[in-house]
Protein backbone atom coordinates (compact mmCIF):
# COMPACT_ATOMS: atom_id res chain seq x y z
CA UNK A 1 0.00 0.00 0.00
CA UNK A 2 2.75 2.37 1.03
CA UNK A 3 4.77 1.54 -2.07
CA UNK A 4 1.78 2.29 -4.25
CA UNK A 5 1.36 5.74 -2.63
CA UNK A 6 4.97 6.55 -3.32
CA UNK A 7 4.61 5.80 -7.01
CA UNK A 8 1.84 8.43 -7.16
CA UNK A 9 3.90 10.98 -5.26
CA UNK A 10 4.88 13.94 -7.50
CA UNK A 11 8.42 15.24 -7.44
CA UNK A 12 9.66 18.54 -8.86
CA UNK A 13 12.72 17.48 -10.76
CA UNK A 14 15.73 19.72 -11.11
CA UNK A 15 16.55 20.21 -14.77
CA UNK A 16 20.26 20.84 -14.88
CA UNK A 17 22.78 21.45 -17.58
CA UNK A 18 26.54 21.80 -17.73
CA UNK A 19 28.24 23.51 -20.62
CA UNK A 20 31.76 24.30 -21.64
CA UNK A 21 32.61 26.89 -24.23
CA UNK A 22 35.41 28.27 -26.32
CA UNK A 23 35.19 32.05 -26.13
CA UNK A 24 36.34 34.96 -28.19
CA UNK A 25 36.80 37.85 -25.78
CA UNK A 26 37.20 41.60 -26.17
CA UNK A 27 37.97 43.88 -23.20
CA UNK A 28 38.23 47.60 -22.72
CA UNK A 29 39.25 48.59 -19.21
CA UNK A 30 40.57 52.17 -19.21
CA UNK A 31 41.78 51.78 -15.61
CA UNK A 32 44.36 49.37 -17.04
CA UNK A 33 44.75 50.71 -20.57
CA UNK A 34 42.95 52.95 -23.05
CA UNK A 35 43.32 50.21 -25.69
CA UNK A 36 40.84 47.42 -26.40
CA UNK A 37 42.36 44.01 -25.75
CA UNK A 38 41.13 40.91 -27.53
CA UNK A 39 41.80 37.23 -27.13
CA UNK A 40 40.35 33.85 -26.26
CA UNK A 41 39.06 32.08 -23.21
CA UNK A 42 37.15 29.16 -21.76
CA UNK A 43 33.67 29.47 -20.33
CA UNK A 44 31.86 27.10 -17.99
CA UNK A 45 28.20 27.27 -17.11
CA UNK A 46 26.07 25.21 -14.76
CA UNK A 47 22.34 25.90 -14.51
CA UNK A 48 19.55 24.31 -12.51
CA UNK A 49 15.85 24.96 -12.87
CA UNK A 50 12.87 23.51 -11.06
CA UNK A 51 9.26 24.37 -10.34
CA UNK A 52 8.56 25.85 -6.95
CA UNK A 53 6.25 22.91 -6.28
CA UNK A 54 5.14 19.89 -8.31
CA UNK A 55 1.59 21.22 -8.25
CA UNK A 56 2.43 24.62 -9.70
CA UNK A 57 3.95 24.10 -13.12
CA UNK A 58 3.76 27.74 -14.09
CA UNK A 59 6.45 29.24 -11.88
CA UNK A 60 10.03 28.00 -11.80
CA UNK A 61 13.26 29.10 -10.17
CA UNK A 62 16.69 28.98 -11.72
CA UNK A 63 20.21 29.12 -10.30
CA UNK A 64 23.18 29.61 -12.57
CA UNK A 65 26.93 29.72 -12.11
CA UNK A 66 29.13 31.01 -14.89
CA UNK A 67 32.89 31.27 -14.97
CA UNK A 68 35.22 32.66 -17.59
CA UNK A 69 38.98 32.54 -17.88
CA UNK A 70 40.51 34.46 -20.73
CA UNK A 71 43.76 35.85 -22.05
CA UNK A 72 43.74 38.97 -24.20
CA UNK A 73 46.38 41.03 -25.98
CA UNK A 74 46.59 44.67 -26.99
CA UNK A 75 46.39 45.45 -30.74
CA UNK A 76 50.18 45.51 -31.07
CA UNK A 77 50.69 42.31 -29.02
CA UNK A 78 53.03 44.06 -26.59
CA UNK A 79 50.96 43.55 -23.43
CA UNK A 80 48.41 41.10 -22.12
CA UNK A 81 45.44 41.21 -19.81
CA UNK A 82 44.22 38.09 -18.07
CA UNK A 83 40.58 37.86 -17.09
CA UNK A 84 39.25 35.53 -14.41
CA UNK A 85 35.66 36.00 -13.40
CA UNK A 86 32.59 34.25 -12.07
CA UNK A 87 28.92 35.11 -11.86
CA UNK A 88 26.16 33.56 -9.76
CA UNK A 89 22.55 34.34 -10.58
CA UNK A 90 19.21 33.28 -9.16
CA UNK A 91 15.86 34.07 -10.65
CA UNK A 92 12.25 33.15 -11.28
CA UNK A 93 10.30 32.67 -14.50
CA UNK A 94 6.64 32.36 -15.35
CA UNK A 95 5.92 29.74 -18.00
CA UNK A 96 3.62 30.69 -20.87
CA UNK A 97 2.56 27.82 -23.11
CA UNK A 98 2.00 29.77 -26.33
CA UNK A 99 1.47 26.74 -28.57
CA UNK A 100 1.83 23.00 -28.28
CA UNK A 101 5.51 23.08 -29.09
CA UNK A 102 6.32 26.63 -28.15
CA UNK A 103 6.88 27.95 -24.66
CA UNK A 104 8.01 31.31 -23.35
CA UNK A 105 9.46 31.85 -19.89
CA UNK A 106 9.54 35.41 -18.64
CA UNK A 107 10.88 36.75 -15.38
CA UNK A 108 13.89 38.23 -13.67
CA UNK A 109 17.15 37.29 -12.06
CA UNK A 110 19.54 38.79 -9.55
CA UNK A 111 23.23 38.17 -9.97
CA UNK A 112 26.57 38.86 -8.39
CA UNK A 113 29.75 39.21 -10.43
CA UNK A 114 33.27 38.91 -9.13
CA UNK A 115 36.36 38.81 -11.23
CA UNK A 116 39.65 40.47 -11.86
CA UNK A 117 41.58 41.72 -14.83
CA UNK A 118 45.33 41.69 -14.59
CA UNK A 119 47.67 43.57 -16.90
CA UNK A 120 51.09 42.10 -16.24
CA UNK A 121 52.99 45.10 -17.63
CA UNK A 122 51.41 47.85 -15.54
CA UNK A 123 53.20 49.20 -12.48
CA UNK A 124 50.86 50.38 -9.71
CA UNK A 125 47.65 49.64 -11.59
CA UNK A 126 48.23 46.02 -12.63
CA UNK A 127 44.82 44.76 -11.51
CA UNK A 128 41.27 45.97 -11.71
CA UNK A 129 38.45 44.23 -9.93
CA UNK A 130 35.25 43.36 -11.70
CA UNK A 131 32.55 43.56 -9.02
CA UNK A 132 28.84 44.14 -9.56
CA UNK A 133 25.38 43.07 -8.59
CA UNK A 134 22.49 43.31 -11.02
CA UNK A 135 18.76 42.84 -11.30
CA UNK A 136 18.09 41.51 -14.79
CA UNK A 137 15.14 41.06 -17.05
CA UNK A 138 15.24 37.51 -18.27
CA UNK A 139 13.38 35.43 -20.78
CA UNK A 140 13.55 32.06 -22.49
CA UNK A 141 11.84 30.91 -25.66
CA UNK A 142 11.66 27.13 -26.30
CA UNK A 143 10.54 25.44 -29.45
CA UNK A 144 10.31 21.67 -29.80
CA UNK A 145 10.38 20.16 -33.25
CA UNK A 146 10.28 16.59 -34.39
CA UNK A 147 12.69 15.01 -36.79
CA UNK A 148 12.48 11.47 -38.12
CA UNK A 149 14.33 9.95 -35.18
CA UNK A 150 13.97 12.36 -32.26
CA UNK A 151 12.45 15.54 -30.90
CA UNK A 152 14.89 18.42 -30.74
CA UNK A 153 14.53 21.54 -28.66
CA UNK A 154 15.71 24.95 -29.81
CA UNK A 155 15.88 27.53 -27.06
CA UNK A 156 16.87 31.16 -26.90
CA UNK A 157 17.72 32.82 -23.60
CA UNK A 158 18.09 36.56 -23.13
CA UNK A 159 19.17 38.46 -20.04
CA UNK A 160 19.40 42.26 -19.74
CA UNK A 161 20.76 44.08 -16.67
CA UNK A 162 18.41 46.80 -15.50
CA UNK A 163 19.44 47.91 -12.02
CA UNK A 164 22.38 47.26 -9.78
CA UNK A 165 25.55 48.37 -8.10
CA UNK A 166 29.04 48.26 -9.55
CA UNK A 167 32.60 48.91 -8.53
CA UNK A 168 34.45 51.40 -10.74
CA UNK A 169 37.45 53.26 -9.34
CA UNK A 170 38.70 56.61 -10.64
CA UNK A 171 41.26 56.16 -13.38
CA UNK A 172 43.87 57.98 -11.31
CA UNK A 173 43.19 56.23 -8.01
CA UNK A 174 45.70 53.66 -6.87
CA UNK A 175 44.88 50.35 -5.24
CA UNK A 176 47.35 51.36 -2.51
CA UNK A 177 45.00 54.17 -1.54
CA UNK A 178 41.81 52.15 -2.04
CA UNK A 179 42.80 48.98 -0.24
CA UNK A 180 45.97 49.97 1.67
CA UNK A 181 44.50 53.15 3.13
CA UNK A 182 40.85 52.12 2.88
CA UNK A 183 39.64 55.06 0.80
CA UNK A 184 36.93 53.45 -1.32
CA UNK A 185 34.82 56.56 -1.68
CA UNK A 186 33.55 57.12 -5.23
CA UNK A 187 34.32 53.53 -6.16
CA UNK A 188 30.82 52.04 -5.84
CA UNK A 189 28.09 53.25 -8.17
CA UNK A 190 24.41 52.70 -8.69
CA UNK A 191 23.90 51.24 -12.15
CA UNK A 192 20.91 51.27 -14.45
CA UNK A 193 20.25 51.75 -18.14
CA UNK A 194 21.74 55.25 -18.04
CA UNK A 195 25.26 53.97 -17.31
CA UNK A 196 25.20 50.23 -17.88
CA UNK A 197 23.97 48.49 -20.98
CA UNK A 198 24.29 44.89 -21.80
CA UNK A 199 22.68 41.75 -22.97
CA UNK A 200 23.54 38.11 -22.80
CA UNK A 201 21.87 35.77 -25.27
CA UNK A 202 22.21 32.05 -25.90
CA UNK A 203 20.86 30.01 -28.76
CA UNK A 204 20.92 26.32 -27.88
CA UNK A 205 19.90 23.11 -29.54
CA UNK A 206 19.14 20.10 -27.30
CA UNK A 207 19.68 16.76 -29.00
CA UNK A 208 18.57 13.63 -27.13
CA UNK A 209 20.59 10.48 -27.72
CA UNK A 210 20.06 7.01 -26.29
CA UNK A 211 21.70 7.63 -22.93
CA UNK A 212 22.14 11.38 -22.73
CA UNK A 213 20.91 14.69 -24.06
CA UNK A 214 23.53 16.99 -25.49
CA UNK A 215 23.41 20.76 -25.95
CA UNK A 216 25.10 22.68 -28.71
CA UNK A 217 24.91 26.37 -29.30
CA UNK A 218 26.29 29.84 -29.13
CA UNK A 219 26.37 32.45 -26.43
CA UNK A 220 26.89 36.13 -27.02
CA UNK A 221 27.37 38.62 -24.24
CA UNK A 222 27.93 42.36 -24.65
CA UNK A 223 28.40 44.73 -21.77
CA UNK A 224 29.23 48.41 -21.68
CA UNK A 225 29.25 50.62 -18.60
CA UNK A 226 30.58 53.95 -17.48
CA UNK A 227 31.38 55.73 -14.24
CA UNK A 228 34.02 58.20 -13.05
CA UNK A 229 34.55 59.35 -16.66
CA UNK A 230 35.66 55.87 -17.68
CA UNK A 231 33.93 53.64 -20.21
CA UNK A 232 34.33 49.87 -19.91
CA UNK A 233 33.42 47.20 -22.41
CA UNK A 234 33.35 43.42 -22.34
CA UNK A 235 32.19 41.43 -25.35
CA UNK A 236 32.15 37.64 -25.45
CA UNK A 237 31.15 35.20 -28.14
CA UNK A 238 31.22 31.52 -27.21
CA UNK A 239 30.68 28.21 -28.92
CA UNK A 240 29.14 26.00 -26.26
CA UNK A 241 28.77 22.26 -25.82
CA UNK A 242 27.28 20.46 -22.88
CA UNK A 243 24.73 18.04 -21.60
CA UNK A 244 21.46 18.27 -19.73
CA UNK A 245 19.87 15.97 -17.23
CA UNK A 246 17.14 15.83 -14.60
CA UNK A 247 17.75 15.02 -10.98
CA UNK A 248 16.07 15.10 -7.63
CA UNK A 249 17.74 15.42 -4.28
CA UNK A 250 16.45 13.16 -1.53
CA UNK A 251 17.96 14.27 1.74
CA UNK A 252 17.22 14.40 5.44
CA UNK A 253 14.07 13.13 7.07
CA UNK A 254 11.62 15.41 5.27
CA UNK A 255 12.33 14.17 1.77
CA UNK A 256 13.57 10.57 2.08
CA UNK A 257 14.02 8.54 -1.06
CA UNK A 258 10.98 6.39 -1.98
CA UNK A 259 11.41 2.68 -1.27
CA UNK A 260 11.74 1.84 -4.94
CA UNK A 261 14.82 4.08 -5.15
CA UNK A 262 17.89 2.12 -4.09
CA UNK A 263 20.76 4.06 -2.56
CA UNK A 264 24.33 2.82 -2.03
CA UNK A 265 24.27 4.69 1.25
CA UNK A 266 21.78 2.33 2.88
Amino acid sequence: MSAQNETLQKYALISANDQLGFTSLSLLDPYLSPMTYSGIGMKYEHAERRFFSPENTKLSMEGKIRALVGMTLNPEYTASTTYIGANYSWGMHYHFQIMDHFQVLAGGTADAVFGFKSNARNVNNPINLDMATNLNLSGVARYDFKTRRRTLRLSYTLEIPVLGCMYVPYGGASYYEMFGLGNLSDAFHFSSLHNKLGSSGSLMLDVPFKRSTWRFGINSSDLKYQANNLIFKQNEFSLMIGCKYDLHIFAGTKTPAPLNFISTDK
Binding site: S33, R121, N124, Y176
Partner: protein, 335 residues
Protein backbone atom coordinates in the same frame (compact mmCIF):
# COMPACT_ATOMS: atom_id res chain seq x y z
CA UNK B 1 2.85 42.26 -29.96
CA UNK B 2 5.22 42.31 -32.92
CA UNK B 3 5.50 46.11 -32.64
CA UNK B 4 6.36 45.86 -28.95
CA UNK B 5 9.13 43.37 -29.61
CA UNK B 6 10.62 45.52 -32.38
CA UNK B 7 10.40 48.63 -30.17
CA UNK B 8 12.11 46.83 -27.28
CA UNK B 9 14.97 45.68 -29.48
CA UNK B 10 15.39 49.17 -30.97
CA UNK B 11 15.36 50.67 -27.48
CA UNK B 12 18.30 48.54 -26.47
CA UNK B 13 20.34 49.83 -29.42
CA UNK B 14 19.17 53.39 -28.76
CA UNK B 15 20.36 53.16 -25.14
CA UNK B 16 23.61 51.56 -26.26
CA UNK B 17 24.45 54.60 -28.32
CA UNK B 18 24.27 56.74 -25.13
CA UNK B 19 27.59 55.32 -23.94
CA UNK B 20 30.02 56.45 -26.56
CA UNK B 21 33.49 55.01 -26.46
CA UNK B 22 36.32 57.53 -26.66
CA UNK B 23 38.10 57.51 -29.98
CA UNK B 24 41.69 56.33 -29.88
CA UNK B 25 44.16 58.08 -32.18
CA UNK B 26 45.46 55.98 -35.05
CA UNK B 27 48.71 54.06 -34.77
CA UNK B 28 50.71 56.65 -36.72
CA UNK B 29 53.56 58.88 -35.60
CA UNK B 30 51.15 61.76 -35.09
CA UNK B 31 48.50 59.54 -33.47
CA UNK B 32 51.00 58.13 -30.99
CA UNK B 33 52.38 61.57 -30.21
CA UNK B 34 48.90 62.96 -29.56
CA UNK B 35 47.93 59.96 -27.42
CA UNK B 36 51.04 60.34 -25.27
CA UNK B 37 50.63 64.08 -24.92
CA UNK B 38 47.01 63.63 -23.87
CA UNK B 39 47.77 60.95 -21.28
CA UNK B 40 50.19 63.33 -19.58
CA UNK B 41 47.88 66.31 -20.04
CA UNK B 42 44.96 64.58 -18.34
CA UNK B 43 46.61 62.18 -15.91
CA UNK B 44 50.01 63.52 -14.82
CA UNK B 45 49.67 65.09 -11.39
CA UNK B 46 52.45 67.71 -11.25
CA UNK B 47 51.88 69.92 -14.31
CA UNK B 48 50.64 72.85 -12.24
CA UNK B 49 52.90 72.24 -9.25
CA UNK B 50 55.95 72.26 -11.52
CA UNK B 51 54.63 75.20 -13.50
CA UNK B 52 54.92 73.33 -16.78
CA UNK B 53 53.20 74.81 -19.82
CA UNK B 54 52.19 71.52 -21.41
CA UNK B 55 50.33 73.24 -24.27
CA UNK B 56 53.46 75.05 -25.29
CA UNK B 57 55.44 71.79 -25.10
CA UNK B 58 52.81 70.28 -27.41
CA UNK B 59 53.43 73.03 -29.96
CA UNK B 60 57.21 72.68 -29.83
CA UNK B 61 57.31 68.88 -30.13
CA UNK B 62 54.40 68.46 -32.54
CA UNK B 63 56.30 70.55 -35.07
CA UNK B 64 59.02 67.88 -35.05
CA UNK B 65 56.67 64.94 -35.68
CA UNK B 66 56.90 63.66 -39.20
CA UNK B 67 55.62 60.56 -40.95
CA UNK B 68 59.17 59.78 -42.05
CA UNK B 69 60.51 59.44 -38.50
CA UNK B 70 61.65 55.92 -37.59
CA UNK B 71 60.55 54.19 -34.40
CA UNK B 72 63.88 55.10 -32.77
CA UNK B 73 63.52 58.75 -33.76
CA UNK B 74 59.92 58.90 -32.54
CA UNK B 75 60.92 57.24 -29.30
CA UNK B 76 63.69 59.77 -28.74
CA UNK B 77 61.37 62.67 -29.57
CA UNK B 78 58.66 61.48 -27.20
CA UNK B 79 61.24 60.57 -24.55
CA UNK B 80 62.61 64.11 -24.75
CA UNK B 81 59.10 65.51 -24.39
CA UNK B 82 58.60 63.43 -21.24
CA UNK B 83 62.00 64.62 -20.00
CA UNK B 84 60.51 68.11 -19.74
CA UNK B 85 58.58 66.82 -16.72
CA UNK B 86 61.85 66.31 -14.79
CA UNK B 87 60.40 63.28 -13.09
CA UNK B 88 62.17 59.99 -12.34
CA UNK B 89 58.79 58.27 -12.25
CA UNK B 90 58.14 59.07 -15.91
CA UNK B 91 59.31 56.55 -18.49
CA UNK B 92 58.36 55.45 -21.95
CA UNK B 93 58.85 51.72 -22.55
CA UNK B 94 59.25 50.09 -25.95
CA UNK B 95 60.66 46.72 -26.93
CA UNK B 96 63.96 48.40 -27.78
CA UNK B 97 64.43 51.14 -25.17
CA UNK B 98 63.27 52.85 -22.00
CA UNK B 99 63.32 56.62 -21.74
CA UNK B 100 64.32 58.05 -18.38
CA UNK B 101 65.11 61.19 -16.47
CA UNK B 102 67.96 60.62 -14.02
CA UNK B 103 69.16 64.12 -13.26
CA UNK B 104 67.50 63.95 -9.86
CA UNK B 105 70.58 62.02 -8.74
CA UNK B 106 73.23 62.36 -11.45
CA UNK B 107 73.46 66.12 -10.86
CA UNK B 108 74.29 65.59 -7.17
CA UNK B 109 77.10 64.05 -5.12
CA UNK B 110 76.75 60.26 -4.71
CA UNK B 111 77.22 60.32 -0.91
CA UNK B 112 77.34 56.55 -0.91
CA UNK B 113 79.96 53.94 -1.61
CA UNK B 114 79.30 50.24 -1.29
CA UNK B 115 83.06 49.73 -1.03
CA UNK B 116 82.99 51.75 2.17
CA UNK B 117 80.04 50.04 3.84
CA UNK B 118 81.39 46.56 3.06
CA UNK B 119 84.86 47.51 4.35
CA UNK B 120 86.09 46.09 7.66
CA UNK B 121 85.38 49.41 9.37
CA UNK B 122 81.62 48.85 8.88
CA UNK B 123 79.84 45.67 7.73
CA UNK B 124 82.96 43.80 6.57
CA UNK B 125 82.51 40.30 5.16
CA UNK B 126 80.74 38.67 8.08
CA UNK B 127 77.50 40.55 8.08
CA UNK B 128 74.10 38.87 8.35
CA UNK B 129 71.26 38.86 5.82
CA UNK B 130 67.61 38.67 6.85
CA UNK B 131 64.95 39.26 4.23
CA UNK B 132 66.20 42.17 2.16
CA UNK B 133 68.36 43.51 4.98
CA UNK B 134 72.09 43.26 5.56
CA UNK B 135 73.08 43.98 9.12
CA UNK B 136 75.88 43.91 11.63
CA UNK B 137 77.31 45.72 14.66
CA UNK B 138 79.68 48.59 14.06
CA UNK B 139 81.73 50.99 16.18
CA UNK B 140 83.00 48.24 18.43
CA UNK B 141 79.59 46.65 18.78
CA UNK B 142 77.90 49.74 20.21
CA UNK B 143 75.79 50.63 17.17
CA UNK B 144 73.51 48.43 15.11
CA UNK B 145 73.71 48.97 11.36
CA UNK B 146 71.17 47.85 8.75
CA UNK B 147 71.64 48.41 5.06
CA UNK B 148 68.38 48.14 3.16
CA UNK B 149 68.91 48.79 -0.54
CA UNK B 150 65.60 47.90 -2.17
CA UNK B 151 62.01 48.32 -0.99
CA UNK B 152 61.05 45.52 -3.39
CA UNK B 153 62.94 43.01 -1.21
CA UNK B 154 60.47 41.83 1.38
CA UNK B 155 61.20 41.25 5.05
CA UNK B 156 59.04 39.85 7.81
CA UNK B 157 58.33 40.60 11.46
CA UNK B 158 60.37 37.50 12.28
CA UNK B 159 63.36 38.94 10.40
CA UNK B 160 63.03 42.21 12.30
CA UNK B 161 62.57 40.44 15.63
CA UNK B 162 65.89 38.62 15.14
CA UNK B 163 67.62 41.81 14.06
CA UNK B 164 66.35 43.86 17.03
CA UNK B 165 67.31 41.07 19.42
CA UNK B 166 70.77 40.94 17.90
CA UNK B 167 71.11 44.71 18.50
CA UNK B 168 69.52 44.72 21.97
CA UNK B 169 72.73 45.79 23.71
CA UNK B 170 73.55 48.52 21.20
CA UNK B 171 73.19 52.21 22.08
CA UNK B 172 71.47 53.09 18.82
CA UNK B 173 70.57 51.92 15.36
CA UNK B 174 71.42 53.12 11.86
CA UNK B 175 68.97 52.33 9.06
CA UNK B 176 70.83 53.08 5.85
CA UNK B 177 68.50 53.58 2.87
CA UNK B 178 70.97 55.37 0.64
CA UNK B 179 70.93 54.22 -2.99
CA UNK B 180 67.55 52.64 -2.34
CA UNK B 181 65.51 53.57 -5.42
CA UNK B 182 62.18 52.50 -3.92
CA UNK B 183 59.75 49.63 -4.31
CA UNK B 184 56.59 48.78 -2.42
CA UNK B 185 54.88 51.48 -0.37
CA UNK B 186 53.50 48.90 2.07
CA UNK B 187 57.07 47.94 2.97
CA UNK B 188 57.97 51.56 3.69
CA UNK B 189 55.00 51.64 6.08
CA UNK B 190 55.97 48.32 7.64
CA UNK B 191 59.60 49.31 8.22
CA UNK B 192 58.62 52.66 9.70
CA UNK B 193 56.02 51.04 11.98
CA UNK B 194 58.78 49.50 14.17
CA UNK B 195 59.90 52.99 15.23
CA UNK B 196 56.55 54.50 16.25
CA UNK B 197 54.99 54.37 19.72
CA UNK B 198 51.50 55.22 18.47
CA UNK B 199 49.64 55.46 15.17
CA UNK B 200 50.66 58.77 13.61
CA UNK B 201 49.55 60.77 10.59
CA UNK B 202 52.70 60.98 8.51
CA UNK B 203 51.36 62.24 5.21
CA UNK B 204 48.56 62.62 2.71
CA UNK B 205 47.79 61.36 -0.78
CA UNK B 206 45.44 62.50 -3.56
CA UNK B 207 44.40 61.24 -6.95
CA UNK B 208 43.08 62.89 -10.10
CA UNK B 209 39.32 63.02 -10.50
CA UNK B 210 39.16 64.71 -13.90
CA UNK B 211 41.15 65.78 -16.92
CA UNK B 212 41.92 69.28 -15.61
CA UNK B 213 45.36 69.96 -14.15
CA UNK B 214 43.85 70.84 -10.77
CA UNK B 215 41.15 68.15 -10.58
CA UNK B 216 42.16 66.29 -7.45
CA UNK B 217 40.32 64.28 -4.83
CA UNK B 218 40.17 65.32 -1.22
CA UNK B 219 43.44 64.38 0.49
CA UNK B 220 43.45 61.01 2.23
CA UNK B 221 45.51 60.75 5.39
CA UNK B 222 48.42 58.35 5.37
CA UNK B 223 48.96 56.91 8.81
CA UNK B 224 51.98 55.05 10.00
CA UNK B 225 50.72 52.52 12.52
CA UNK B 226 52.83 51.63 15.52
CA UNK B 227 53.72 47.95 15.32
CA UNK B 228 51.79 46.02 17.94
CA UNK B 229 54.66 43.94 19.32
CA UNK B 230 57.96 45.01 17.78
CA UNK B 231 59.35 48.39 18.76
CA UNK B 232 62.81 49.95 18.62
CA UNK B 233 62.79 52.55 21.38
CA UNK B 234 66.43 53.63 21.35
CA UNK B 235 67.71 56.36 19.03
CA UNK B 236 67.68 55.61 15.32
CA UNK B 237 69.41 57.38 12.45
CA UNK B 238 68.07 57.13 8.91
CA UNK B 239 70.75 57.67 6.26
CA UNK B 240 69.62 59.21 2.99
CA UNK B 241 71.12 60.43 -0.25
CA UNK B 242 69.77 61.63 -3.58
CA UNK B 243 69.18 58.07 -4.72
CA UNK B 244 66.76 57.49 -1.86
CA UNK B 245 63.73 57.67 -4.11
CA UNK B 246 60.03 56.87 -4.36
CA UNK B 247 58.99 54.37 -1.63
CA UNK B 248 62.27 55.22 0.14
CA UNK B 249 61.30 58.89 -0.02
CA UNK B 250 58.01 57.87 1.58
CA UNK B 251 59.87 55.95 4.32
CA UNK B 252 62.02 59.00 5.06
CA UNK B 253 58.94 61.20 5.15
CA UNK B 254 57.40 58.87 7.73
CA UNK B 255 60.58 58.62 9.78
CA UNK B 256 60.76 62.41 10.07
CA UNK B 257 57.75 62.01 12.39
CA UNK B 258 59.10 59.06 14.41
CA UNK B 259 60.17 59.70 18.01
CA UNK B 260 63.91 59.18 18.68
CA UNK B 261 64.64 59.27 14.95
CA UNK B 262 66.61 61.69 12.82
CA UNK B 263 67.43 61.77 9.12
CA UNK B 264 71.04 62.36 8.21
CA UNK B 265 72.99 62.66 4.97
CA UNK B 266 71.80 64.36 1.81
CA UNK B 267 68.34 65.46 0.71
CA UNK B 268 66.41 62.47 -0.58
CA UNK B 269 65.77 62.15 -4.32
CA UNK B 270 62.02 62.66 -4.21
CA UNK B 271 59.59 60.77 -6.38
CA UNK B 272 56.53 61.85 -4.44
CA UNK B 273 54.07 60.94 -7.17
CA UNK B 274 52.79 57.40 -7.06
CA UNK B 275 53.17 56.20 -10.65
CA UNK B 276 50.53 54.47 -12.78
CA UNK B 277 50.81 53.03 -16.29
CA UNK B 278 49.05 53.56 -19.57
CA UNK B 279 49.84 52.90 -23.22
CA UNK B 280 49.71 54.47 -26.65
CA UNK B 281 48.36 52.95 -29.90
CA UNK B 282 51.68 51.44 -31.01
CA UNK B 283 51.83 49.40 -27.80
CA UNK B 284 54.51 51.40 -25.99
CA UNK B 285 53.86 51.78 -22.29
CA UNK B 286 54.14 55.05 -20.40
CA UNK B 287 54.63 55.32 -16.65
CA UNK B 288 53.83 58.63 -15.01
CA UNK B 289 53.27 60.20 -11.60
CA UNK B 290 49.52 60.07 -10.98
CA UNK B 291 48.92 60.47 -7.25
CA UNK B 292 50.77 63.23 -5.39
CA UNK B 293 51.99 62.32 -1.93
CA UNK B 294 52.54 64.91 0.78
CA UNK B 295 54.32 64.99 4.12
CA UNK B 296 52.55 65.48 7.45
CA UNK B 297 52.48 69.24 6.83
CA UNK B 298 50.76 68.76 3.46
CA UNK B 299 53.94 69.73 1.62
CA UNK B 300 54.84 68.03 -1.67
CA UNK B 301 57.61 65.43 -1.45
CA UNK B 302 58.27 65.30 -5.20
CA UNK B 303 61.58 67.17 -5.03
CA UNK B 304 62.89 65.28 -2.00
CA UNK B 305 63.00 65.64 1.77
CA UNK B 306 65.61 67.65 3.60
CA UNK B 307 67.61 65.71 6.21
CA UNK B 308 67.64 66.85 9.83
CA UNK B 309 71.43 66.87 9.65
CA UNK B 310 73.07 67.59 6.30
CA UNK B 311 76.31 65.69 5.78
CA UNK B 312 78.27 64.94 2.61
CA UNK B 313 80.97 62.32 2.27
CA UNK B 314 84.20 64.28 1.90
CA UNK B 315 86.85 63.21 -0.60
CA UNK B 316 89.41 62.98 2.21
CA UNK B 317 87.21 60.74 4.34
CA UNK B 318 86.42 58.54 1.37
CA UNK B 319 90.11 58.22 0.55
CA UNK B 320 90.72 57.19 4.14
CA UNK B 321 87.96 54.55 4.06
CA UNK B 322 85.58 56.61 6.15
CA UNK B 323 81.91 57.12 5.43
CA UNK B 324 81.38 60.65 6.77
CA UNK B 325 77.61 60.16 7.04
CA UNK B 326 77.85 56.95 9.09
CA UNK B 327 80.47 58.54 11.36
CA UNK B 328 78.33 61.61 11.99
CA UNK B 329 75.31 59.35 12.65
CA UNK B 330 77.30 57.38 15.23
CA UNK B 331 78.31 60.62 16.98
CA UNK B 332 74.71 61.82 17.07
CA UNK B 333 73.39 58.49 18.33
CA UNK B 334 75.88 58.53 21.19
CA UNK B 335 75.05 62.06 22.32
Amino acid sequence: MKKHIIFSILSIFAFSSCIEEPEMPANTNMGNFEALWKIIDTKYCYLDYKNINWDSIHTVYKAQVDTSLTDYEMFELMGNMLGELKDGHVNLYSDFDRSRYWKWFTDYPANFSSELIYSDRYLGDNYHIAGGMRYGKIDGGTIGYIYYGDFSNRFSDVNINYIFNYFKDCDGLIVDVRDNGGGYLDLSEQLASYFFKKDTITGYIQYKTGDGHTDFSKATTVKTPAHKTLKWTKPVAVLSNRMSYSATNSFISRMKMAPNAFVIGDKSGGGGGLPLSSEIPNGWMVRFSACPMYDANMQHTEWGIDPDIKVDITATDKANGIDSIIEKAIDELKK
